[in-house]
Assembly symmetry: C2
DNA sequence: TGATATTAGTTGATTATTCAACAACGCCGG
DNA sequence: CCGGCGTTGTTGAATAATCAACTAATATCA
């Protein structure tokens, strides 16, 4: 436990900071584009995407929260705002009276369809087109390894919402 | 302008989502660790780091905002809270009477020093140790390319705070 | 110099996120 | 069928982030 700290080497630190910067720049760019062109914050967009891909364009709150890596509370607030925009409606769940089902409306689907091209274009500009094909596949493997490592250490997770 | 959208291929989309997930998992883990063990949110930690590395452990607000990729407003609020904790003080700037200089206090430095080992350990767990040495250097190049691309397209940036 | 534009930084209102507490329901053992 | 227990989802208060408006000081330039 109290072994001396394994500090990062100069090179490791450089790469760590580059990584942080790269993430921030990509998310800032995609977020800005999405809000500017469609008025949809990045987080809402992800919710709409997951709903649009679900059978019947509907999902239980918990499943949607998990898919979007939202906490239940955050999702509940977010869906309330999406309902105000008319993009989502809440429905009762037939098999579980506690359950709520979030369903994408036609307007919500239309808003998503209208926003998608600009968003995709921005993802290309910020990420895909910035890299060589080889770098893209390397990024894929690196990202997969990071996610896998997180899943491992997260296996002992006991927090309320996540996992 | 209105050319048909260059949609992402299935593989590109897979990698994009993996990338998003990887970033989220790393930041969630480092954030959680930092708050749990030191009560320091990730954003504040970065501010303290930049101050600690500056000559005299002090920086003009604007420089600090830029270094931490904070907006001026956000930084101003954040420094207010850091002052309340006794970790930072504001000083007048001798050469520009508009200016404010944020200076790290001894307590602030001590808090940073106490938090650093755990944070570094978490960065290792979430990122460095999850990758092979080759992947780490690949990640460095990929991140550098992403940052460079963002800097290019950001050159025409006219927003108030950034750039 | 004096008029105007820029820059530095703060503030308060609006909006988003987290956190802890909670109500309602389902599950399961006695 | 009942009582405890975990789950589902919501709520409201506290905290944080964004946005627009603002003050005050400096730069620019005729």
């Amino acid at each position: 436990m109290t072994t001396t700290t394994r500090w990062l080497t100069a090179e490791e630190q450089r790469i760590w900071r580059l990584f942080v910067q790269a993430c921030e720049s990509v998310f800032a760019a995609t977020d800005t584009q999405l809000i500017r062109d469609s008025g949809i914050p990045h987080g809402y967009y992800e919710i709409l995407v997951h709903l649009s891909e679900a059978p019947g364009r509907a999902l239980r709150m918990t499943q949607l929260a998990h898919a979007s890596t939202y906490s239940k509370s955050r999702l509940s607030h977010a869906v309330t705002r999406l309902e105000e925009r008319g993009w989502v409606v809440r429905r009762e769940c037939a098999t579980d009276r506690r359950g709520q089902i979030a369903q994408l409306t036609e307007e919500g689907f239309a808003a998503l369809a209208a926003a998608a091209p600009g968003h995709v274009e921005q993802v290309r500009k910020s990420l895909i087109d910035a890299l060589t094909p080889e770098q893209i596949s390397q990024l894929g493997e690196v990202a997969a390894a990071i996610v896998a490592a997180a899943a491992d250490s997260g296996s002992k997770c006991h927090d309320a919402d996540l996992c």
